[in-house]
Symmetry: C2
Subunit: 232 residues, 2 copies
């Protein structure tokens, strides 16, 4: 014991997350395994898609294939934002030890980012905004398309920009800390962290450009129509 120094005392690590010294004393293992959790998530997304298809079938306006896909996307997003990310926002402090299917899903995803279990301030605030704000505007966008309302494009722009901004900050902060919150296994890093998050950068970026183009065209028509009206 002669050379023993107090700084050599390493607390026992009782969780599977990265960084290995993350403070997760309240961690309790999930009851369901990974495939059960992912099947539940897929079933949830499938249910949201079915709801979208029912709403599309009842819509009075005739929609293009692209608009139909955007309705499905926005309703799936609203469900994920409000239910999954809303659950995180309300339960972040106790999530690591909570026993529920949604807590299991977060414990699974947290292999790719332990900030979801440690109440990381940025992650908590960003997810709160995503749940309340992005979730609501995704519903407004879907409604705007289904009802052929002029609110559609501003709502599409707001939802998509908020999604991209939150996601770029989310990925960027982890990158700047050398992905220390992420399990380096390729499955967790490339599938959970990179691929799943890239979806919410690629699709919303396309929808931002789409909204801007349509607003530009619409505002040009409105400008000309108003000028004609004024000159008559």
């Amino acid at each position: 014991m002669a050379d023993f120094q107090p700084q050599d005392v390493i607390p026992e690590v009782l969780h599977p997350y990265f960084p290995r010294d993350a403070a997760l004393s309240h961690y309790v293992a999930s009851k369901f395994n990974m495939s059960e959790s992912l099947t539940t998530l897929s079933a949830g997304v499938g249910l949201l898609a079915v709801i979208s298809i029912i709403l599309l079938a009842r819509a009075r306006t005739s929609l293009t294939g692209k608009d139909k896909l955007i309705v499905i996307w926005m309703i799936v997003c609203a469900g994920i934002h409000i239910v999954l990310e809303g659950y995180f926002s309300f339960n972040h402090a106790t999530l690591a030890g909570k026993q529920s299917m949604l807590a299991d899903l977060w414990r699974e995803y947290a292999h790719s980012d332990s900030r979801y279990l440690t109440s990381d301030p940025f992650t908590v605030i960003m997810e709160g905004i995503t749940a309340v704000f992005d979730g609501s505007f995704a519903i407004v966008t879907a409604y705007g398309i289904l009802a052929d309302s002029p609110i559609r494009y501003p709502a599409q722009l707001i939802t998509s920009l908020a999604q991209v901004y939150g996601d770029v900050l989310y990925m960027g902060t982890n990158c700047m800390e050398n992905y220390k919150h992420t399990n380096p296994h390729p499955y967790y890093f490339y599938f959970y962290f990179v691929t799943l998050n890239a979806i919410w950068i690629v699709i919303p970026t396309y929808l931002i450009v789409d909204a801007c183009k349509n607003i530009y065209r619409g505002m040009l028509i409105a400008q000309r129509a108003t000028t004609i009206k004024k000159s008559n």
Copy 2:
């Protein structure tokens, strides 16, 4: 020395920031004092306002008072985002010890938030986005108003939403950490942290609502004009 424990060794604090144990070994005091720094900032903002007024005088379209104010606001924002926040983004790692007027300004503001001197990942990424993205779209908005281009409202919406999102996250994360990065003196807390940041929540929120209203009205006119054209 019998009861001495290694954890009692507290590193000497050689900087004026909060939290008092923030790692700022590279800190060097500013050459200019607070009033000199703030005078320079005010002069910079004044110069941007003068540039805006010159551009407004040369504009071919007749603008409302509100639109003129938005041009001034956007050009002032672009200057602050690109010059001041761009400087931070490039120099965050060495800012605490850098000798320049802009570094002095950041050392002064950092009394209200030491994350600007410690390369806090969220602050660095958010400021990078603000400098490049918000800065560019603020210029596009000002151009859109001056040139009476339909790009104006989508650009106004994008700039303002990005400003509000960044600012809410910025204030929210510090709040969630009980303002530990902030000097509790009322001047630093209420003036620098609360008031200065509230400006970039209140004005952009108004401009988001303004953009949405105008896009809604424009898209409605465009919708009707297209329907009339189709029915003829």
